[in-house]
Amino acid sequence: MSEFDHDHGESGRNHSPGLSRRRILECMTWAGTGVLWTISGGVPRSLGLVDSAMAAAPAGLSFLQISDSHVGFDKPANPNALGTLEEAIARINAMPARPSFMIHTGDITHLSKAAEFDNAERIISQAKLDVHYVPGEHDFLDEDVKLYRDGYGRGAKGAGWYSFDANGVHFIGLVNVVDLKAGGLGNLGAEQLAWLEDDLKGRSRSTPIVVFAHIPLWTVYPEWGWGTEDGARALEYVKGFGSVTVLNGHIHQVMQKVEGNVTFHTARSTAFPQPAPGTAPSPGPMKVADDKLRGLLGVASINFKPGDQRLAIIDTPLQG
């Protein structure tokens, strides 16, 4: 497939519908059962809870995001992270509308052990979906730093970045967990940024863009390292596009922000929750009552309806 399939005859739509409303900046955190929301001209609009969202069958592209499965984690916050990953996959398999594919935004494993990667693959493959991965910092911990690259990074550039197209949407998987500098945040690096600029060159501004990476590309809470040092550079390259969606993991909770025509969203983990920014001494695993855990773990499904320049994200917890 040509990278420029969708560029023909669309130059007249080369504009950014949300620019005049760039002042809008909203941050929303959902702890409940999930919400379908859409963006139109930069204004987020809630359409209701999951059930009604499910009832409106998506006409366009639908894909799933899972994140932070931390296979191998066995501490008090969740002694069986493999089990909750299995539950998440079972829920995906039970979804009435089958998604086109899945993205995994990193921290597949907890310690990058071969057995952890094997177990993750054994469970995730049960969804029988193509999975597009980006690595988390927990996926590069093996001595030779090769298990992730060998298992998932083939055909990718650098430490594992790449792009692909699906249903007219351009997907970009970035790596911001290597070469981190003392005192800093996540890091993309000059080589990856140059690749990104080149990847977007000549692409029609009406092409919907989905960028996914492990650590949030926007600054969520620098005191806990929740942000990307040079993330603003990447966002500079994509912000001229009419519809941009940035999907991240790492912080093990749902957080959303809309800035102009760029929508930011972080997904829940399938392994353990982490505290809201600044509400605990550290971002470490948060121990909650056993009957509360599954309400804080989950997956996200993302629907894109062509022509609408709209994108809907539904966060579904494992329970509740």
Binding site: H110, L111, H138, L180, A182, G183, G184, E223, G225
Partner: protein
């Protein structure tokens, strides 16, 4: 002196052994930096040349101890430790390469 100290237990015997090993060097007591709540504690530590510093991770999340060009631990899972002996004076800044907002410094005199 030796027969006497060998008769006592624990720290005294250890101190005697260290004194014997060090010879002309100043007394350097090995010491520990703990990792709790994504924080090195103490964040700054001053030690004598020859001191071995051991980092101990008490978090439920792995960390590393990295000083560019000087030393680099493997990944420390919960309760894992890493030791480094400082043989030259200087200021050694270090950080966790997984969570780079975690920083610390060892001053060696």
């Amino acid at each position: 002196m030796i027969p006497f100290t060998l008769r006592v237990h624990g720290k005294l015997a250890m101190a005697a052994a260290i004194l014997l090993c060090l010879g002309a060097h100043a007394f350097a007591e090995d010491t520990e930096v703990t990792i709790d709540n994504f924080t090195f504690s103490p964040a700054e530590l001053t030690v004598k040349v020859g001191t071995t510093v051991t980092w101990k991770n008490h978090d439920d999340i792995p960390h590393t101890v990295v000083s560019a060009g000087k030393f680099r631990s493997k990944t420390l899972d919960t309760d894992d430790g890493y030791s480094f002996t400082f043989t030259a004076a200087g200021a050694y800044k270090y950080f966790c390469s997984l969570h780079p907002h975690m920083t610390g410094m060892i001053k060696v005199e």
